[in-house]
């Protein structure tokens, strides 16, 4: 077996991404009579990384993101898409997948609720799960504050999205 020192960085990245895939992929093995077949994507395709793996990285990143990512401008949510930016503010990923955006918006709603509860703008709930109805008023108040303290317009973006949410229009 190749020793750790003989591994190139490409090998190490490949191993790390394989481990990442094993951790986060929910693919089930095909069960045969005597064996199981597990399908894994290749890490590299030509000069690029496999789109399947990149897609999984993006999904996991979004599911793990905190409210800080929104406040710092790394993740921007609008009503039509979701963008991930780098530290220089350049867009590196743009997402138009409605199902994924909805999932992230729900996640953001809960995180905003927790954030607002920390700031004592909403009453904390024991299970720390918040829906739009719980935080709507506080969110608008927070939006005003965030504009004053120049924390970019990201919470506003999230709020705009939340206000446009069907739950509100019903």
């Amino acid at each position: 077996m190749e020793s750790q020192s003989q591994q190139t960085s490409l090998d190490k990245v490949e191993a790390a991404l394989n481990e990442f895939w094993n951790t986060y992929s929910k693919q089930l093995p095909i069960k045969g009579r005597h064996t199981e077949v597990t399908i894994k994507p290749r890490v590299f395709i030509g000069d690029e990384l496999n789109p399947q793996i990149i897609q999984k990285i993006i999904e996991v990143y979004l599911l793990k993101m905190s409210i800080k990512h929104i406040l710092s401008g790394k993740v921007v949510i609008t009503d039509s898409n979701l963008q991930i930016k780098n530290d220089e503010g350049k867009v590196i990923v743009e997402i138009s997948n409605a199902a994924l955006i909805k999932k992230i918006v729900n996640q953001v709603t809960v995180q905003l609720g927790r954030h607002l509860a920390e700031k004592k703008l909403v009453a904390p709930r024991p299970n720390q799960i918040y829906c739009l109805g719980d935080i709507q008023g506080a969110l608008v108040e927070y939006l005003k504050q965030s504009e004053k303290c120049d924390s970019k317009n990201l919470v506003r973006d999230a709020t705009v999205l939340l206000l446009k949410d069907k739950q509100l229009t019903r």
């Binding site: 960085s9 045969g32 997948n97």
Partner: protein, 234 residues
Amino acid sequence: MASRYDIYSAMGLTTTDKQTMIKSGENAYPLRTPFNVPRDHSSPTHSIPAKLSVLIEMVKTLLSEKGLLRGRTFAFVNSFGKEVSAGDEQLFAELLPNGKNSSLAEIELAATIIFGLHQELKNGTLSPDRTNAIRFDPKIMQRKWGRACHEEAVAAKPLKNAFTPNRQAPDSIPYLPSGYGAAPVVAVGNFTNTPNGIEYKDSWKVLDELGPELGIPRGIIAGARREQILLSEG
């Protein structure tokens, strides 16, 4: 092609087990289909749609392994030349005409064909033609691979170190001369965008920016990027 001994090794059997299997011959392996799909319909993990998605992944994997997805996505085209969406369960309409209502035997047959296709691609006996289309006859494929493909199933695992950067689909391997023309066509189309509404320009940039937050050290990503550039520059 791998010997039975190699296959059993890959399956993780002990030496004694392997010798027993080989001594007892084919009767020890009374397989007619590649998979013994569990008959427990109550289990959601064994539902037919789940199997279909697995089959789709298998085709993606085998096309990836041949480097056919390099800079491109793939499309499936039925025998009438109509493109079938890759994300659609009708993808296998040619192989599974009854879709979700396909019987387990039909699914097993489709799996057999796909494994055969996989092996043909791997062996180089089947390759894309000038239009990047791979043509195969499911019946021939099933006849050729029906018995062996369960054992070969283990070969569907990604082949370590089989990939070299800049590897292209082989053009020099002759296209099968006859008997493979009238069947479903798997075609490789032009790359348009990343499927599923996730768009990016540079996959390495995405890994570089997001990877460290997911536990992949920035140092090895940067090193790998440098190595990859050196390799692609020859």
